[in-house]
């Protein structure tokens, strides 16, 4: 048999020959040192190239996963992140009682309470002072 061309061996390596032609060529290559060497080199390069191609989608997937993770972190930061500083005067809630603490930290709320207490005391004073 005449040696097949390199193009034909390439088509054989990529499975693009008719079944009968492929079988005939394989029989030849199995017993031909010259064609066997060429074909083996082609096959090694083809498989190595296919292997790189198979790895590509996985790399893309990894990047997609990283992008998703970053987006999730950003969303959490935006939702849970810094809020407007509360107005101490309107949101003050005492946890310990002290005669002066209200004036020091309570602001307007504490002053209102103090004014109401003063009015009550004055009222009590008038009733208790009556004979």
């Amino acid at each position: 048999m005449i040696h097949p061309s390199e193009d034909t061996l390439l088509l054989l390596a990529y499975g693009e020959l008719a079944v009968e032609q492929a079988a005939e060529l394989e029989s030849h290559v199995a017993g031909c040192e010259t064609c066997g060497v060429v074909f083996a080199r082609l096959e090694r390069a083809r498989v190595a190239l296919d292997d790189v191609s198979r790895a590509v989608p996985r790399r893309r997937l990894d990047w997609a996963a990283v992008a998703l993770a970053v987006a999730a972190v950003l969303a959490v930061v935006l939702l849970m992140g810094p809020r407007p500083t509360p107005d101490r005067a309107s949101h003050w809630a005492p946890t310990t009682m002290s005669p002066t603490a209200g004036y020091m930290t309570g602001g307007r709320a504490m002053l209102d309470i103090d004014a109401q207490l003063t009015q009550l005391e004055q009222g009590w004073g008038r009733s208790y002072g009556r004979p």
């Binding site: 193009d7 390439l10 029989s27 080199r41 090694r44 390069a45 498989v47 296919d50």
Partner: protein, 166 residues
Amino acid sequence: MSQIRVEQLLAEHTPALRNFFGARCRDDELTGELLQEVAARLVTAAPRLSLNGNARGYLFRVAANVWHDHLRRDLVRRRASVALEASAATTADPADAPLLERELRTAIGAAVAALPPAQREVVELRREFGITFQEIADRLDRPLGTVLTQMHAALARISAALESYR
């Protein structure tokens, strides 16, 4: 698919499969091992197989996968033996295999990136879309012979990269 049918299928196509592997590895002993691997995969897959008249196609696809896996392992093994000779280590570490595979992919990726644009175009179309060389020729408006020559030249460069990788 029954056990009997699997045996029939293998018996019917063993000569062609032997030819398939023989042309690729040119080693009778290895051909026998690869045939056994095909048989093992077929038996494993048999219970969930339903081959509607395309048994031969399926069998050769299994054979192509077995060959692909063997060649890929062989590439990594060769690299491992070279690395072993280069270092003072006395035993090969199986944990190195993924690293060696990555090295191989990097070397091939670099070889592809360095291809002339016309060759790279053919390689990329084949890789990305898995279309035939005739379809690539049609798409690029080049004669089939030109596309095959370009692919051949690209594979020769990749083969050279593999040699230096080893």
